[in-house]
Symmetry: C2
Subunit: 209 residues, 2 copies
Amino acid sequence: MDSETGRPQTEYGKTPRTERGRRTLRKLLDAAALEFGEHGFHEASITGITRRAGTALGSFYTYFDSKDEIFRALVRDLSGGVRDAVKETHDPDAASLEQERQALTSFLRFAREHKEIYRIIDEAEFVDPASFRAHYENTASRMFARLKEGADKGELREDLSEAHAWAIMGMNVFLGLRYAVWSDDRKAMDIAEVASSILREGIAATGRD
Amino acid sequence: MDSETGRPQTEYGKTPRTERGRRTLRKLLDAAALEFGEHGFHEASITGITRRAGTALGSFYTYFDSKDEIFRALVRDLSGGVRDAVKETHDPDAASLEQERQALTSFLRFAREHKEIYRIIDEAEFVDPASFRAHYENTASRMFARLKEGADKGELREDLSEAHAWAIMGMNVFLGLRYAVWSDDRKAMDIAEVASSILREGIAATGRD
Protein backbone atom coordinates (compact mmCIF):
# COMPACT_ATOMS: atom_id res chain seq x y z
CA MET A 1 0.00 0.00 0.00
CA ASP A 2 1.28 3.45 -0.76
CA SER A 3 1.29 5.38 2.49
CA GLU A 4 0.49 8.71 0.87
CA THR A 5 -2.41 7.65 -1.32
CA GLY A 6 -3.56 4.51 0.47
CA ARG A 7 -3.64 2.82 -2.94
CA PRO A 8 -2.37 -0.66 -3.55
CA GLN A 9 0.71 -0.73 -5.77
CA THR A 10 2.60 -3.41 -7.59
CA GLU A 11 6.36 -3.52 -7.63
CA TYR A 12 6.91 -2.83 -11.28
CA GLY A 13 4.88 0.27 -11.96
CA LYS A 14 1.73 -1.50 -13.09
CA THR A 15 -0.32 0.79 -10.92
CA PRO A 16 -4.00 0.79 -11.87
CA ARG A 17 -5.23 4.03 -13.39
CA THR A 18 -8.92 3.62 -12.62
CA GLU A 19 -10.80 3.17 -9.39
CA ARG A 20 -12.12 -0.13 -10.70
CA GLY A 21 -8.58 -1.27 -11.47
CA ARG A 22 -7.51 -0.34 -7.95
CA ARG A 23 -10.35 -2.43 -6.51
CA THR A 24 -9.35 -5.40 -8.66
CA LEU A 25 -5.72 -5.15 -7.60
CA ARG A 26 -6.79 -4.87 -3.96
CA LYS A 27 -8.96 -7.98 -4.35
CA LEU A 28 -6.07 -9.88 -5.92
CA LEU A 29 -3.67 -8.96 -3.11
CA ASP A 30 -6.21 -9.85 -0.41
CA ALA A 31 -6.93 -13.15 -2.15
CA ALA A 32 -3.19 -13.81 -2.48
CA ALA A 33 -2.75 -13.25 1.28
CA LEU A 34 -5.34 -15.96 1.96
CA GLU A 35 -4.04 -18.33 -0.71
CA PHE A 36 -0.34 -18.04 0.31
CA GLY A 37 -1.28 -17.97 4.00
CA GLU A 38 -3.25 -21.19 3.72
CA HIS A 39 -1.16 -23.19 1.25
CA GLY A 40 2.29 -21.64 1.42
CA PHE A 41 4.12 -20.38 -1.65
CA HIS A 42 4.86 -23.71 -3.32
CA GLU A 43 1.34 -25.15 -3.11
CA ALA A 44 -0.45 -21.87 -3.85
CA SER A 45 -1.67 -21.31 -7.40
CA ILE A 46 -2.63 -18.35 -9.56
CA THR A 47 -6.03 -19.91 -10.26
CA GLY A 48 -6.50 -20.34 -6.51
CA ILE A 49 -5.88 -16.60 -6.16
CA THR A 50 -8.24 -15.52 -8.94
CA ARG A 51 -10.94 -17.92 -7.69
CA ARG A 52 -10.76 -16.36 -4.22
CA ALA A 53 -10.68 -12.87 -5.73
CA GLY A 54 -13.61 -13.63 -8.03
CA THR A 55 -11.67 -12.18 -10.97
CA ALA A 56 -10.81 -13.54 -14.39
CA LEU A 57 -7.36 -14.99 -15.00
CA GLY A 58 -6.77 -12.15 -17.47
CA SER A 59 -7.11 -9.59 -14.66
CA PHE A 60 -4.29 -11.32 -12.82
CA TYR A 61 -1.96 -10.97 -15.78
CA THR A 62 -2.89 -7.31 -16.16
CA TYR A 63 -1.01 -6.67 -12.93
CA PHE A 64 1.38 -9.57 -12.41
CA ASP A 65 3.53 -11.74 -14.62
CA SER A 66 3.83 -14.67 -12.25
CA LYS A 67 3.16 -16.18 -8.84
CA ASP A 68 6.58 -14.89 -7.77
CA GLU A 69 5.66 -11.38 -8.72
CA ILE A 70 2.38 -11.24 -6.79
CA PHE A 71 4.14 -12.80 -3.81
CA ARG A 72 6.76 -10.04 -3.84
CA ALA A 73 4.03 -7.40 -4.22
CA LEU A 74 2.13 -8.98 -1.33
CA VAL A 75 5.13 -8.87 1.02
CA ARG A 76 5.55 -5.17 0.23
CA ASP A 77 1.82 -4.62 0.67
CA LEU A 78 1.74 -6.36 4.08
CA SER A 79 4.90 -4.59 5.20
CA GLY A 80 3.24 -1.31 4.21
CA GLY A 81 0.11 -2.42 6.07
CA VAL A 82 2.10 -2.81 9.28
CA ARG A 83 3.66 0.62 8.77
CA ASP A 84 0.29 2.25 8.05
CA ALA A 85 -1.45 0.55 11.00
CA VAL A 86 1.19 2.03 13.32
CA LYS A 87 1.11 5.39 11.56
CA GLU A 88 -2.67 5.75 11.78
CA THR A 89 -2.66 5.63 15.56
CA HIS A 90 0.63 7.51 15.98
CA ASP A 91 0.36 10.57 18.20
CA PRO A 92 3.52 12.68 17.84
CA ASP A 93 2.59 14.64 20.96
CA ALA A 94 2.36 11.54 23.18
CA ALA A 95 5.24 10.65 25.49
CA SER A 96 7.82 8.42 23.76
CA LEU A 97 7.10 5.35 25.86
CA GLU A 98 3.39 5.81 25.17
CA GLN A 99 4.13 6.02 21.45
CA GLU A 100 5.91 2.65 21.61
CA ARG A 101 3.08 1.11 23.60
CA GLN A 102 0.57 2.38 21.04
CA ALA A 103 2.72 1.18 18.12
CA LEU A 104 2.79 -2.33 19.58
CA THR A 105 -0.94 -2.31 20.35
CA SER A 106 -1.68 -1.28 16.75
CA PHE A 107 0.68 -3.94 15.41
CA LEU A 108 -0.94 -6.65 17.55
CA ARG A 109 -4.39 -5.64 16.32
CA PHE A 110 -3.19 -5.64 12.72
CA ALA A 111 -1.64 -9.10 13.18
CA ARG A 112 -4.87 -10.44 14.68
CA GLU A 113 -6.80 -9.24 11.66
CA HIS A 114 -4.14 -10.50 9.25
CA LYS A 115 -2.89 -13.66 10.92
CA GLU A 116 -1.44 -14.87 7.63
CA ILE A 117 1.13 -12.06 7.75
CA TYR A 118 3.60 -14.07 9.83
CA ARG A 119 3.53 -17.06 7.55
CA ILE A 120 3.91 -14.89 4.44
CA ILE A 121 6.70 -12.67 5.70
CA ASP A 122 8.48 -15.68 7.20
CA GLU A 123 8.20 -17.54 3.90
CA ALA A 124 9.68 -14.50 2.15
CA GLU A 125 12.97 -15.47 3.82
CA PHE A 126 13.06 -18.32 1.29
CA VAL A 127 11.01 -17.08 -1.64
CA ASP A 128 12.14 -13.45 -1.71
CA PRO A 129 14.98 -12.81 0.77
CA ALA A 130 15.42 -9.17 -0.26
CA SER A 131 11.83 -8.31 0.71
CA PHE A 132 12.17 -10.23 3.97
CA ARG A 133 15.24 -8.24 4.88
CA ALA A 134 13.74 -4.95 3.70
CA HIS A 135 10.65 -5.48 5.84
CA TYR A 136 12.64 -5.78 9.05
CA GLU A 137 15.23 -3.17 8.15
CA ASN A 138 12.51 -0.63 7.37
CA THR A 139 10.54 -1.46 10.51
CA ALA A 140 13.67 -1.15 12.66
CA SER A 141 14.61 2.15 10.99
CA ARG A 142 11.22 3.67 11.72
CA MET A 143 11.42 2.52 15.31
CA PHE A 144 14.97 3.84 15.69
CA ALA A 145 13.85 7.24 14.32
CA ARG A 146 11.16 7.37 17.04
CA LEU A 147 13.69 6.37 19.71
CA LYS A 148 16.10 9.12 18.61
CA GLU A 149 13.27 11.64 18.70
CA GLY A 150 12.47 10.51 22.25
CA ALA A 151 16.11 10.88 23.23
CA ASP A 152 16.23 14.35 21.67
CA LYS A 153 13.18 15.34 23.74
CA GLY A 154 15.04 14.10 26.83
CA GLU A 155 12.51 11.33 27.47
CA LEU A 156 14.61 8.36 26.42
CA ARG A 157 18.19 7.28 27.07
CA GLU A 158 20.72 9.09 24.93
CA ASP A 159 22.73 5.96 24.20
CA LEU A 160 19.95 4.16 22.32
CA SER A 161 21.25 2.67 19.07
CA GLU A 162 19.86 0.81 16.10
CA ALA A 163 20.53 -2.41 18.04
CA HIS A 164 18.05 -1.27 20.70
CA ALA A 165 15.45 -0.85 17.96
CA TRP A 166 16.16 -4.39 16.74
CA ALA A 167 15.76 -5.70 20.30
CA ILE A 168 12.42 -3.93 20.78
CA MET A 169 11.19 -4.99 17.33
CA GLY A 170 12.05 -8.60 18.19
CA MET A 171 10.07 -8.31 21.41
CA ASN A 172 7.06 -7.05 19.44
CA VAL A 173 7.34 -9.68 16.71
CA PHE A 174 7.46 -12.56 19.20
CA LEU A 175 4.64 -11.19 21.33
CA GLY A 176 2.63 -10.97 18.10
CA LEU A 177 3.48 -14.54 17.09
CA ARG A 178 2.50 -15.95 20.47
CA TYR A 179 -0.40 -13.67 21.45
CA ALA A 180 -1.89 -12.53 18.14
CA VAL A 181 -1.35 -15.50 15.80
CA TRP A 182 -1.10 -18.62 17.98
CA SER A 183 -3.75 -17.44 20.42
CA ASP A 184 -5.57 -14.18 20.81
CA ASP A 185 -7.54 -14.61 24.00
CA ARG A 186 -5.64 -11.90 25.87
CA LYS A 187 -6.29 -8.21 25.21
CA ALA A 188 -3.82 -6.53 22.85
CA MET A 189 -3.47 -3.74 25.43
CA ASP A 190 -2.44 -6.19 28.15
CA ILE A 191 0.20 -7.77 25.94
CA ALA A 192 1.47 -4.32 24.94
CA GLU A 193 1.76 -3.50 28.65
CA VAL A 194 4.15 -6.46 29.09
CA ALA A 195 6.59 -4.94 26.60
CA SER A 196 5.89 -1.43 27.83
CA SER A 197 6.73 -2.30 31.42
CA ILE A 198 10.08 -3.74 30.30
CA LEU A 199 10.86 -0.55 28.37
CA ARG A 200 9.74 1.61 31.30
CA GLU A 201 11.57 -0.03 34.13
CA GLY A 202 13.34 -3.22 33.03
CA ILE A 203 12.75 -6.47 34.89
CA ALA A 204 14.76 -5.96 38.08
CA ALA A 205 12.88 -5.93 41.39
CA THR A 206 11.86 -2.40 42.27
CA GLY A 207 14.40 -0.48 44.28
CA ARG A 208 17.19 -2.93 43.59
CA ASP A 209 19.02 -1.48 40.63
CA MET B 1 21.42 -33.77 21.05
CA ASP B 2 20.49 -35.45 24.29
CA SER B 3 21.38 -33.07 27.07
CA GLU B 4 22.28 -35.80 29.55
CA THR B 5 24.54 -37.86 27.37
CA GLY B 6 25.60 -35.30 24.78
CA ARG B 7 24.78 -37.92 22.16
CA PRO B 8 22.99 -37.13 18.94
CA GLN B 9 19.56 -38.76 18.78
CA THR B 10 17.03 -39.34 16.08
CA GLU B 11 13.36 -38.85 16.70
CA TYR B 12 12.26 -42.43 16.38
CA GLY B 13 14.57 -44.32 18.66
CA LYS B 14 17.14 -45.24 16.04
CA THR B 15 19.85 -44.22 18.46
CA PRO B 16 23.24 -45.62 17.48
CA ARG B 17 24.58 -48.28 19.82
CA THR B 18 28.25 -47.93 18.98
CA GLU B 19 30.65 -45.02 19.17
CA ARG B 20 31.23 -45.34 15.44
CA GLY B 21 27.48 -45.19 14.82
CA ARG B 22 27.24 -42.06 16.94
CA ARG B 23 30.00 -40.42 14.91
CA THR B 24 28.21 -41.32 11.66
CA LEU B 25 24.92 -39.90 12.91
CA ARG B 26 26.69 -36.73 14.06
CA LYS B 27 28.31 -36.39 10.63
CA LEU B 28 24.95 -36.83 8.91
CA LEU B 29 23.27 -34.17 11.08
CA ASP B 30 26.13 -31.70 10.59
CA ALA B 31 26.05 -32.34 6.84
CA ALA B 32 22.25 -31.92 6.83
CA ALA B 33 22.63 -28.53 8.57
CA LEU B 34 24.91 -27.35 5.75
CA GLU B 35 22.80 -28.90 2.97
CA PHE B 36 19.46 -27.53 4.25
CA GLY B 37 21.07 -24.25 5.26
CA GLU B 38 22.50 -23.73 1.77
CA HIS B 39 19.72 -25.08 -0.44
CA GLY B 40 16.59 -24.98 1.71
CA PHE B 41 14.41 -28.00 2.31
CA HIS B 42 12.93 -28.37 -1.16
CA GLU B 43 16.19 -28.20 -3.10
CA ALA B 44 18.24 -30.18 -0.60
CA SER B 45 18.83 -33.86 -1.36
CA ILE B 46 19.74 -36.97 0.56
CA THR B 47 22.70 -37.60 -1.75
CA GLY B 48 23.79 -34.00 -1.10
CA ILE B 49 23.81 -34.82 2.61
CA THR B 50 25.70 -38.11 2.33
CA ARG B 51 28.24 -36.53 -0.04
CA ARG B 52 28.94 -33.77 2.48
CA ALA B 53 29.06 -36.30 5.31
CA GLY B 54 31.35 -38.61 3.36
CA THR B 55 29.11 -41.58 4.20
CA ALA B 56 27.44 -44.21 2.06
CA LEU B 57 23.77 -43.82 1.18
CA GLY B 58 23.10 -46.97 3.21
CA SER B 59 24.33 -45.23 6.37
CA PHE B 60 21.71 -42.55 5.85
CA TYR B 61 18.93 -45.12 5.73
CA THR B 62 20.25 -46.82 8.85
CA TYR B 63 19.13 -43.75 10.78
CA PHE B 64 16.51 -41.97 8.67
CA ASP B 65 13.70 -43.03 6.38
CA SER B 66 13.45 -39.80 4.41
CA LYS B 67 14.56 -36.22 3.90
CA ASP B 68 11.61 -35.16 6.07
CA GLU B 69 12.81 -37.33 8.90
CA ILE B 70 16.39 -36.04 8.99
CA PHE B 71 15.03 -32.48 8.76
CA ARG B 72 12.86 -33.06 11.83
CA ALA B 73 15.77 -34.66 13.66
CA LEU B 74 17.97 -31.70 12.69
CA VAL B 75 15.51 -29.12 14.08
CA ARG B 76 15.47 -31.02 17.37
CA ASP B 77 19.24 -31.29 17.30
CA LEU B 78 19.74 -27.55 16.70
CA SER B 79 17.12 -26.66 19.29
CA GLY B 80 18.99 -28.89 21.74
CA GLY B 81 22.22 -27.23 20.65
CA VAL B 82 20.86 -23.81 21.64
CA ARG B 83 19.73 -25.19 24.98
CA ASP B 84 23.08 -26.86 25.64
CA ALA B 85 25.09 -23.79 24.62
CA VAL B 86 23.19 -21.73 27.19
CA LYS B 87 23.39 -24.51 29.79
CA GLU B 88 27.15 -24.94 29.46
CA THR B 89 27.86 -21.36 30.51
CA HIS B 90 25.01 -21.13 33.01
CA ASP B 91 26.11 -20.09 36.48
CA PRO B 92 23.27 -20.68 38.95
CA ASP B 93 25.05 -18.52 41.53
CA ALA B 94 25.26 -15.48 39.28
CA ALA B 95 22.77 -12.62 39.67
CA SER B 96 19.64 -13.15 37.58
CA LEU B 97 20.31 -10.30 35.18
CA GLU B 98 23.84 -11.60 34.70
CA GLN B 99 22.44 -15.03 33.92
CA GLU B 100 20.29 -13.55 31.16
CA ARG B 101 23.19 -11.58 29.76
CA GLN B 102 25.32 -14.72 29.73
CA ALA B 103 22.51 -16.76 28.15
CA LEU B 104 22.23 -14.25 25.30
CA THR B 105 26.01 -14.05 24.84
CA SER B 106 26.17 -17.84 24.59
CA PHE B 107 23.25 -17.90 22.15
CA LEU B 108 24.87 -15.25 19.94
CA ARG B 109 28.13 -17.20 19.87
CA PHE B 110 26.28 -20.39 19.01
CA ALA B 111 24.37 -18.62 16.23
CA ARG B 112 27.63 -17.23 14.80
CA GLU B 113 29.09 -20.71 14.66
CA HIS B 114 25.87 -22.18 13.26
CA LYS B 115 24.55 -19.41 11.04
CA GLU B 116 22.35 -21.89 9.20
CA ILE B 117 20.26 -22.35 12.36
CA TYR B 118 17.97 -19.42 11.55
CA ARG B 119 17.19 -20.56 8.06
CA ILE B 120 16.55 -24.13 9.23
CA ILE B 121 14.36 -23.30 12.23
CA ASP B 122 12.50 -20.67 10.20
CA GLU B 123 11.89 -23.18 7.42
CA ALA B 124 10.54 -25.62 10.01
CA GLU B 125 7.53 -23.28 10.25
CA PHE B 126 6.57 -24.69 6.83
CA VAL B 127 8.16 -28.13 6.74
CA ASP B 128 7.56 -29.22 10.31
CA PRO B 129 5.35 -26.71 12.20
CA ALA B 130 5.23 -28.82 15.38
CA SER B 131 9.03 -28.69 15.78
CA PHE B 132 9.04 -24.96 15.03
CA ARG B 133 6.52 -24.33 17.76
CA ALA B 134 8.20 -26.74 20.19
CA HIS B 135 11.54 -24.99 19.74
CA TYR B 136 10.18 -21.60 20.80
CA GLU B 137 7.84 -22.95 23.47
CA ASN B 138 10.68 -24.89 25.08
CA THR B 139 13.08 -21.95 24.87
CA ALA B 140 10.50 -19.60 26.41
CA SER B 141 9.71 -22.12 29.18
CA ARG B 142 13.35 -22.40 30.17
CA MET B 143 13.70 -18.64 30.21
CA PHE B 144 10.50 -18.22 32.23
CA ALA B 145 11.80 -20.76 34.78
CA ARG B 146 14.95 -18.65 35.20
CA LEU B 147 12.86 -15.46 35.56
CA LYS B 148 10.70 -17.07 38.25
CA GLU B 149 13.81 -18.20 40.10
CA GLY B 150 15.12 -14.63 39.94
CA ALA B 151 11.81 -13.31 41.30
CA ASP B 152 11.89 -15.90 44.10
CA LYS B 153 15.37 -14.70 45.05
CA GLY B 154 13.99 -11.16 45.18
CA GLU B 155 16.19 -10.00 42.30
CA LEU B 156 13.53 -9.71 39.59
CA ARG B 157 10.02 -8.25 39.45
CA GLU B 158 7.42 -10.53 41.01
CA ASP B 159 4.89 -9.92 38.23
CA LEU B 160 6.97 -11.46 35.46
CA SER B 161 4.88 -13.83 33.37
CA GLU B 162 5.42 -16.19 30.47
CA ALA B 163 4.69 -13.23 28.16
CA HIS B 164 7.76 -11.45 29.54
CA ALA B 165 9.82 -14.52 28.63
CA TRP B 166 8.41 -14.39 25.08
CA ALA B 167 9.30 -10.70 24.85
CA ILE B 168 12.88 -11.29 26.00
CA MET B 169 13.28 -14.33 23.76
CA GLY B 170 12.11 -12.22 20.79
CA MET B 171 14.69 -9.58 21.65
CA ASN B 172 17.41 -12.24 21.67
CA VAL B 173 16.25 -13.90 18.44
CA PHE B 174 16.23 -10.62 16.51
CA LEU B 175 19.57 -9.46 17.89
CA GLY B 176 20.92 -12.83 16.75
CA LEU B 177 19.42 -12.49 13.28
CA ARG B 178 20.81 -9.00 12.80
CA TYR B 179 24.14 -9.23 14.66
CA ALA B 180 25.10 -12.89 14.44
CA VAL B 181 23.74 -14.04 11.07
CA TRP B 182 23.47 -10.95 8.84
CA SER B 183 26.68 -9.43 10.18
CA ASP B 184 28.96 -10.36 12.98
CA ASP B 185 31.43 -7.51 13.17
CA ARG B 186 30.32 -6.39 16.63
CA LYS B 187 31.34 -8.30 19.75
CA ALA B 188 28.72 -10.73 21.09
CA MET B 189 29.26 -9.18 24.53
CA ASP B 190 28.43 -5.70 23.26
CA ILE B 191 25.23 -6.88 21.62
CA ALA B 192 24.29 -8.77 24.79
CA GLU B 193 24.83 -5.53 26.72
CA VAL B 194 22.17 -3.82 24.55
CA ALA B 195 19.54 -6.31 25.69
CA SER B 196 20.93 -6.41 29.21
CA SER B 197 20.68 -2.64 29.61
CA ILE B 198 17.01 -2.77 28.59
CA LEU B 199 16.33 -5.52 31.14
CA ARG B 200 18.28 -3.63 33.82
CA GLU B 201 16.80 -0.19 33.48
CA GLY B 202 14.43 0.07 30.50
CA ILE B 203 14.93 2.79 27.91
CA ALA B 204 13.65 5.88 29.72
CA ALA B 205 16.11 8.72 30.37
CA THR B 206 17.78 8.25 33.74
CA GLY B 207 16.00 9.88 36.62
CA ARG B 208 12.81 10.44 34.69
CA ASP B 209 10.60 7.49 35.58
